[in-house]
């Protein structure tokens, strides 16, 4: 056991001391934060500090001009006459909307919008809505509905979901959050298995081609060498993950303060949402946060950590076996396929079918079979409640057994493979190695 520790230490420190590791570990949170920051900055900036759009409205029909209500950040300026030439020379006017003379409420025609810059989708729909509201209100008035009644109609309906438990209690649930979280966790595991599994394989090939392996296995058992490598690289991955989470968290908090998404705004949001009389689309943002916090985060994180490590150990052992069976990286292709296919399959199916039906039969099976379970379980996890716990336990048990199985099989292939040179190995050959005595 002591030898595994020494080997793990070497594998770990020789990797975390590398410049490429330090660079990647520090840069990734910066990139994530920068990306996140830009998104917030753009969205916050747009709502808070975007310049008002001055739009001249020439209403020859007289239908709109008295009732038009400008949406936020848009100013409608009524004019009797306004030409395109004036628009071109005027700095302060952004666009011109012309309403034809023969426009009536009952015979709607297209309104002409002229501008030197193209219209954003957001503004286009807001302007359209402003005009539509006028027409609708007029129609309603004609039908005898009074103004107060019309105002009270201005409501946005939000579908707020609740998951009902067997004991009758309810919990709000949000498909977008569940899907997003599940896919993010699944992708992290997928990425980690690939990135670090290949590192295990490369490490084994390096030792083999360097012929250093002959020297080492005269001192330690091949199994110890393999395990030391797999564990050492796992620790590298955990270190990287931890630094990423901590750094990203800190940086995000800093960015949040800088771009002004501070707690005051959140309070405001909360006040708005607590007042049921006011309909506000921003209610979704707060709901987002509370729905996220309502998830069983500790359980999700625990299961994630298990499959993060378990999936890596399972696949890492197989990657080590491949590395031992070949003489160089270029020979790995034929053996890589059976390992990469289930991984790619699991992410492809999980992100399409499993997301659509997270508690269906296919999803259940895929989250139990160890080749696909690390990825699929993550996609399912936010959608699973206590009644599915047995599936999680079963999946964990199967995973544990599979890890031992994979390590035993890989150890046998590894033991024979690392000392085998200059031989193109076939699957038949690999199978034979499993039964070699020594």
């Amino acid at each position: 056991m002591n030898n595994i520790g020494i080997i793990t230490g070497r594998e770990y420190f020789s990797r975390v001391k590398k410049k490429s590791f330090i660079l990647m570990t520090l840069l990734t949170p910066l990139l994530i934060t920068a990306f996140y920051g830009i998104i917030i900055w753009v969205s916050v900036g747009q709502t808070n500090s975007a310049e008002n759009q001055n739009i001249v409205v020439v209403d020859r029909s007289g239908v709109f001009i008295n009732d038009l209500v400008a949406p936020e950040n848009i100013v409608f300026i009524a004019q009797e006459n306004y030409t395109v030439d004036q628009l071109i020379t005027a700095d302060s006017i952004d666009a011109l909307v012309s309403i034809p003379q023969d426009y009536t409420v009952n015979q709607p025609l297209a309104l002409k919008y002229e501008s030197m810059t193209s219209l954003s989708v957001n503004n286009s729909s807001r302007i359209e809505r402003a005009f539509t509201d006028v027409v609708r209100n007029k129609k309603l008035t004609k039908l005898g509905v009074n103004k107060a009644a019309i105002d009270s109609l201005q409501t946005t309906v939000v579908l707020q979901q609740f998951k009902v438990k067997e004991d009758g209690s309810t919990k709000s649930s949000n498909i977008a959050i569940n899907t997003g979280l599940g896919m993010a966790l699944a992708f992290m595991i997928y990425f980690f298995i690939f990135l670090y599994g290949v590192q295990v394989m490369k490490g084994v090939i390096e030792e083999k081609t360097n012929r250093i392996v002959e020297l080492i296995v005269s001192t330690v058992k091949p199994f110890q060498l393999m395990m030391g490598k797999v564990l050492g690289i796992a620790l590298v991955g955990l270190t990287q993950l931890t630094i990423w989470i901590v750094l990203t968290g800190i940086l995000m908090a800093v960015v949040g303060v800088i771009v002004g998404l501070n707690m005051g705004d959140m309070k405001e949001l909360q006040n708005v949402s607590n007042n049921p009389g006011i309909a506000n689309v921003d209610i979704n943002q707060l709901q987002f946060v509370s729905d996220f916090l309502a998830l069983p985060l500790a359980k999700i994180f625990g299961v994630f950590l298990f499959f993060f490590m378990g999936g890596y150990l399972f696949y890492g052992a197989l990657f080590a076996a491949i590395g031992s069976a070949v003489d160089s990286e270029t020979d790995t292709q034929q053996f890589m396929l059976p390992i990469t296919m289930p991984l790619i399959f699991s992410i492809a199916i999980s992100f399409s079918i499993v997301v659509g039906d997270p508690n269906g039969t296919l999803a259940a099976w895929m989250s139990i079979i160890p080749l696909t379970s690390p990825v699929t379980m993550m996609v399912r996890l936010p959608f699973m409640d206590e009644s599915h716990n047995w599936q999680i336990y079963l999946s964990i048990m199967v995973m544990l057994l599979s890890i031992f199985g994979a390590i035993a099989v890989a150890g046998k292939i590894y033991r024979t493979g690392i000392l085998m040179y200059g031989k193109k190995v076939s699957y038949k050959e690999l199978a034979k190695w499993l039964f070699y005595k020594n």
Partner: protein, 300 residues
């Protein structure tokens, strides 16, 4: 007393037999030559002694006890295919291997520093292996082999990659280690080195032992009573009596005869007043000749 006893050891692979009931002893405190052509089974045997693989038959005794994993720390091994971590520094690498061999870090540091000084290599400590010349790498590999003070050292082709000066340095070190009590098994194809430093040898050919004993014993075993006589003088070779001349070489006024006596050696001919003798000796085959003769496939 033997440090290693190989007892009827066999190793079979799918398509050939690497070792076929091989038996021999390696005496304590000697430099022991493990000789044989490529494919004779040397590497298989070395791997078995190192417990990298297990024998299919037979057993190996270490100091009289069956070889176990506990003996690994008493064995030093320099593989023919050298290998070190290219991106690791000399010092880290040496510490790593010392720890794998069970040394604690402080003891390892002390020994490593001594060896680096001995090889005038203290300035390389912080260098990566890939930055060193081949000879330097070989020296580090040699230190890896011996730094844990093993009682049995296996050196597979230890002189490759060394210039004559460093070859001598390594030879001296090997003899030093022997004089300090270690037993050394040396596998090499350079027969001149075997004659120079080996005390005992075993010669393997096609999975079998074909000769063993001290270097002199093995060489003597192949001698065929041939004598060599070099002289100046008027006497013609044909005028000698009682000998059977195999070769007669004239050079710079010297005549060298290779001959066997018809009967028993008769040194009367050395007293012949017509010749001045510069050399007279019994011809003992060199290790090179022993090797070629015994491993020649037509000889079976």
């Amino acid at each position: 007393m033997s440090i290693i006893q190989i007892q009827k050891v066999s190793k079979f692979y799918a398509d050939h037999t690497a070792l076929d009931k091989v038996s021999f002893d390696v005496p304590k405190g000697c430099i022991f030559g493990l000789l044989g052509p490529n494919g004779a089974g040397k590497t298989s045997l070395i791997r078995i002694i190192n417990q990298i693989t297990a024998p299919d038959e037979g057993q190996i005794l270490f100091n009289g006890n069956p070889l176990t994993k506990d003996h690994i720390k008493q064995i030093g091994y320099l593989p023919e295919e050298r290998g070190l971590y290219k991106k690791m520094t000399v010092y880290d690498q040496l510490i790593y291997f010392a720890r794998l061999r069970g040394m604690d870090t402080s003891a390892a540091k002390k020994t490593i520093n001594e060896w680096l000084e001995k090889f005038e290599a203290t300035t390389w400590k912080k260098k990566k292996i890939e930055e060193l010349s081949k000879g330097m790498q070989q020296k580090i590999q040699f230190i890896v082999t011996v730094m844990h003070n093993p009682s049995f050292i296996i050196l597979d082709e230890p002189f490759t990659g060394f210039d004559p000066k460093n070859t001598q340095l390594i030879k001296d070190e090997i003899e030093n280690l022997r004089n300090q009590g270690a037993s050394i098994m040396l596998s090499t194809h350079r027969m001149e080195n075997v004659e120079a430093i080996c005390d005992n040898v075993v010669l393997l050919n096609k999975a079998n032992v074909v000769a063993q004993g001290t270097v002199m014993d093995v060489r003597n075993s192949l001698k065929d009573n041939t004598y060599s006589l070099t002289y100046r003088g008027e006497l013609k070779a044909t005028q000698f009596t009682g000998i059977d001349i195999k070769e007669n070489v004239q050079k710079d006024g010297n005549t060298t005869l290779l001959f066997t006596y018809n009967d028993k050696p008769d040194i009367q001919l050395l007293n012949n007043p017509l010749i001045q003798i510069s050399e007279y000796r019994e011809v003992i085959p060199s290790m090179q000749e022993v090797f070629l003769t015994l491993t020649d496939s037509s000889h079976e």
